[in-house]
Amino acid sequence: MSQLELKQNKQGTTLNLTISGSIDEDADFAHVDLNEVELMIVNLNGLKGLNSCGIREWIRWTQKFPDTLKVAFLNCPKIAIEQMNMVEGFLPKNGIVKSFYIPYYCEECDSVTNYLQEVKQGVEVDAPEEIQCENCKQTAEIDVIEAKYFKFLK
């Protein structure tokens, strides 16, 4: 019933996991094979929805991670970043964000362009204040309160 889709690709001790769809009350992460995995790279590019029960299922899953497991998150959408900032335990203890999306709002055409921000270790994130709107090519302005949105990086 869940619209959640998990794709796994294991290479040695590294597991590449692609998550798409919605994480909700039916989310089941039990079949993600963490056996002998030391690094899990989680790609959240296709994550479309995350509700309160999904947050609970996610935390239940991440609480079972072995202490030795390192987790790197790629392409985190705003809905995931919001929970990392708000919900203690959403970002697992050994988890780091390697890249995430920042929304930019265009007043000209009322659309949102998502800008992918890379995170480099030891380098402070310096997001542009404006980018080109992908829809009308006019100027789109950053549409988050930076002090709040970048909290998870600290």
């Binding site: 039916d26 609970r56 809905i79 009322d110």
Partner: protein, 273 residues
Amino acid sequence: MKWIDIDEQTKIKFGSFSGVNLAADCTVGRAGSNRDIIVDEYESELQALECLADGKVSHYISTGARAPDLAFSFATRSMDDRSSFLQDPATSYFFGKSIDTVKAFDFCNVKEKQTVVSRATEYAQNVSKAAAIADAARLIVEELSMNALYDAPGCPPGELPQNTQRSHVQLAISDDTLLLSCVDLYGSLDPWCALSKIIEVLSTGIGPSIGMNRKQGAGIGLTLAQSRCESFIMAVEPGQRTVVSCALALGKRGKSLEDQKRNYHILIQEEQV
């Protein structure tokens, strides 16, 4: 605190106020009776909610909200007539204004709920000036519809509800506002309990508040929903009907949602004798 008696004249006077000139500490109540409306500066959502809960006040209007006059007008009307909102949330909330669109999606189990969330979200995404609030709209529809299912009487503990009475999600647009409502026919919501739960979650943090061992709701849904909207309404006719609504401003930037000041309304229709 300054107390103002409400009578027909005062209602008219306050019904057209702009919000900016109102005394910050002005509290409005019926003469010699319970306090019904608080009009106040908004320091934080927690402060506003505690203010409501402490006095069991029905309406909290923030002077810093986008449209305090709309909220105040709704509050004063609701003092005399709670049933209109319970029967038709959009017409009652947007009283006297033309409503551009009303859409309703009904459901009675989890599978249908998921379809409703998809359809309602798709609809909201295509609404003019809604780009920045699309994620918020989806989350609100998710949480309100889930509560309608999980709070259904007779749902066995530890099991997901299968076939309950039909509930519906309603979307209505007027005056640069999107009103999302979820209507169920149980009337089992206790707004004061729900308010206490939201306050508890905000006080202790969302993570520690999650009911990790519950099969049903996680216990944080209403907190998430109310934190995305500019007006949050819980209405109940015990044993008959529950309506929970969130009003969102259209044409605003996404970041304005994060720091927006909110209005709260609690409507309880006494049981008919």
